[in-house]
């Protein structure tokens, strides 16, 4: 009896612990990214941001989070209550499930499924359901417009993302993200962005295509996390706060958390598809399971920094221009890349 109990307890405990690891990671990462974003933004804008809570304000994200937790949870009288309540959690779930297939290290991946890359694309579009629900349920016209915008934007930018993933899959021959990362192991030269670990001729020919694909995936990833210049669903100066206008307190925090968690996800996708994931840029130097986590997070973090930098520099596009960029610029270029990569690989 006791034996069964411990076994059960252990199994449940172990799986809970394993699946909760990303959650802990998300919370910590969001705190760090929040702090980084505020500080980077401030220094871009010639100011210093918060300085008083702790050394250079390092405790401020925690204080912000505590404040959000204490806020009153306001639910508008005429809203669709069920949808309104569940929307933030659905949005967050969409982000969270994506962490299941992120290869943090050679030994840690939530679920080493063979359809990892495909799963990521699918999970990414799951978030939009939450946003659409929030926009619809708020019974606020601005929120509704925000939700609808979000849906159209996600649909448009899923396509460049998926096409970019296809190109990587063509080169590596696997949808399993762990395999994709292992394929690129062994130093910077083996990264797919530089043509992958292929013979020299092929590599040189592939390089222009992979570089373009990498850039396009990066642009599409900014659009997918709804950040400037693609921050339409919540375009502050146009739609007040877009889909989360009516949210407050914990539910708003969920959207916030989801947004920043998503920021990490897309960066991680770019990193594991194109920049070798957890593999060390210096071959065997500083490589290993623990170093893997380090490299993975650092690389993803670099991307987040670039996204923050872009956000605080550029103005916003217009809705029709957003569609134009997606359908008439990125998608045709990706078709060209697919053709090119395919031909090179066949030759």
């Amino acid at each position: 009896m006791e034996f069964i109990q411990t076994l059960l307890a252990n199994q449940v405990l172990v799986s809970i612990l394993l699946s909760a690891l990303p959650l802990v990671f998300i919370v910590l990462m969001v705190l760090v990214v929040l702090y980084t974003e505020m500080k980077v933004a401030a220094h871009i804008q010639d100011r210093v941001a918060y300085m008083r809570t702790g050394w250079h304000g390092v405790l401020q994200p925690i204080a912000d989070m505590l404040k959000l937790l204490q806020k009153e949870d306001i639910i508008p009288t005429k809203s669709d209550k069920l949808l309104f309540r569940t929307a933030p959690f659905i949005a967050f779930t969409g982000t969270y499930v994506a962490y299941a297939v992120l290869p943090f290290s050679s030994i840690y991946i939530g679920s080493n499924i063979n359809l990892g890359a495909f799963f990521l694309v699918a999970a990414g579009s799951f978030v939009v359901i939450g946003i659409l629900m929030a926009g619809w349920a708020s019974n606020n016209k601005w929120s509704l417009i925000g939700g609808i915008r979000s849906a159209s934007q996600m649909i448009s930018y899923e396509i460049p993302t998926a096409l970019a993933v296809i190109i990587v899959v063509m080169i590596t021959g696997s949808l399993n993200l762990q395999d994709v990362t292992k394929f690129q192991d062994g130093g910077m030269g083996n990264w797919i962005v530089f043509g992958g670990p292929l013979p020299w001729m092929q590599k040189l020919m592939l390089m222009p295509f992979t570089l373009v694909t990498f850039f396009i995936l990066f642009v599409a990833s900014i659009a997918e996390v709804n950040r400037t210049p693609f921050d339409f669903p919540e375009a502050e100066s146009e739609l007040v706060q877009g889909f989360n206008t009516e949210y407050s307190g914990m539910r708003f925090a969920m959207f916030y958390l989801s947004e920043y968690a998503n920021l990490f996800t897309v960066s991680a996708v770019v990193v594991s598809l194109f920049l070798g994931g957890w593999s060390s840029p210096f071959g065997t130097f500083m490589s290993g399971p623990l170093w893997g986590i380090f490299w993975f997070v650092v690389k993803a973090y670099m991307f987040m920094l670039i996204q923050i930098w872009i956000r605080w520099t550029l103005p916003r596009l217009r809705v029709d221009q957003l569609m134009f960029v997606s359908w008439k610029v990125l998608t045709p270029w990706l078709f060209v890349c697919i053709l090119g990569v395919g031909l090179i690989l066949v030759l």
Binding site: Q45, D46, S237, V240, W312, T313, L314, L317, R318
Partner: protein, 401 residues
């Protein structure tokens, strides 16, 4: 005890009826569609205050736009009639366009001075010009910065505020106030310039020239910004004149009209400067980008004016001899128009021979400029409406008075 239900704003009779339509879906089913009426404001972040725009949208396309103003109505004109003397009105005039208080009080003071036929000393005119042009730069900086926010770029806003702080420091040094000055008085100024003003103002000029270039690089010539503002909210020349639009908005439409030159007052005719007009460099003449670039270039012109005025600043008294009690003759009336930061600011004053005016009408540029908004936003997207309204650069204190 206030009945809270009574505090709900009354539903305003808008004569617009929502048009119903039908659309066929791909499966051949017919669905009903209708236009949506949305309230933009008074608490919307990009209406620059408490402007309320009732917009009718079809999807995201603006079908109609009805501005509702008056949320900031402070009975300026009634107040003026109730004051016991003319000097008391100057602080109220400050509060009309609070982003550009110097030009406001100057316009009012100029009207009273002309009503009394007072000539002010040369030094006063020079100092007034310096102050007004500094104020114009400060006001345009707000316009440009908030326009950046409207277009989604937050950073230029803070850059412009850093520069504006320096101008406000100059004002504070001169008269003690940073926003509402009460500096220009009837027949002169409240104080003479402090001794180190000229040096600091010159420092500011040398500091600010490169900042304009930087702002242009960051915002004006940004590819996305140009894409957003070119060919948006086009205000044709004839419409602009018909709606008596003035200031940068009028010049943005390609009309070469500046009251500092065309209806001269003070010493502007002695100085070298050029009115800037929109030329449609990236799109059509009179689009949002043109209005923006006119403001950017006007700042440079203002710097020129300040530089010359500082160099030519004569010595002398800063107060003219004026009667102790200001009492214009009976039935005297005057309309004086000046070029404030946002355009033609006119004061129409009727005197009845007492120490307080019989009627004061303030013709605010923002009020008139805003009235053209519905004409130029139809057919655009919501994002265009935000940018068009931003390019008009309204200050609700002046619109609602």
């Amino acid at each position: 005890m206030i009945d809270l239900t009574m505090l709900q704003p009354p539903t305003l009779p808008t004569d617009y009826t929502v048009k119903l339509g039908h659309t066929k879906t791909s499966t051949g089913k017919t669905i009903r569609t209708e236009e949506m009426i949305v309230n933009m404001g008074p608490q919307h972040p990009s209406t620059h205050g408490v402007l309320r725009l009732e917009i009718v949208i079809d999807g995201e396309i603006i079908v109609d736009c009805i501005p509702h103003i008056g949320y900031l109505h402070r009975c300026f004109e009634k107040h003026c009639e109730q004051m016991t003397n003319y000097q008391q009105i100057i602080p109220y005039a400050d509060r009309m366009d609070y982003c550009s208080a110097m030009t406001n009080e100057w316009a009012f003071v100029l009207a009273v001075e002309r009503l009394l036929k007072i000539e002010v000393p040369e030094r006063v005119e020079y100092i007034r010009v310096i102050m007004a042009e500094l104020q114009r730069i400060a006001s345009h900086l707000i316009a440009v910065g908030t326009y950046g926010i409207d277009s989604g770029a937050f950073t230029p806003f803070l850059y412009t505020f850093i520069d504006r702080e320096k101008i406000l420091d100059l004002f504070e040094m001169t008269c003690g106030a940073r926003l509402l000055y009460n500096y220009i008085w009837i027949g002169g100024l409240s104080h003479d310039l402090p001794p180190n003003f000229i040096g600091q103002a010159k420092d500011f000029i040398t500091y600010f020239h490169p900042r304009i270039t930087m702002l242009n690089d960051l915002l004006t010539y940004n590819e996305i910004f140009v894409k957003r503002t070119a060919n948006v909210g086009v205000l044709p020349k004839d419409v602009a004149i018909n709606f008596a639009v003035s200031g940068p908005q009028l010049r943005g439409s390609g009309v070469n009209w500046d009251l500092r030159r065309d209806d001269p007052y003070s010493i502007y005719h002695k100085l070298e400067w050029q009115p800037q007009i929109g030329k449609g460099e990236v799109g059509t003449v009179g689009d949002c980008w043109d209005r923006h670039i006119v403001r950017m270039r006007e700042m440079e012109q203002s710097l020129n004016i300040i530089e010359q005025a500082l160099a030519a600043l004569p010595e002398g008294n800063v107060k003219a001899a004026i009667p102790k009690r200001i009492r214009p003759e009976k039935d005297a009336e005057i309309y004086v128009r000046t070029e404030a930061s946002r355009g033609e600011l006119g004061y129409y004053i009727i005197s009845d021979g007492t120490t307080s005016p019989f009627r004061v009408k303030a013709r605010g540029p923002a009020f008139v400029n805003l009235s053209v908004l519905p004409e130029i936003v139809r057919g655009g997207l919501i994002a265009d409406l935000v940018l068009t309204a931003g390019s008009i650069d309204i200050v609700l204190g002046e619109v609602d008075r």
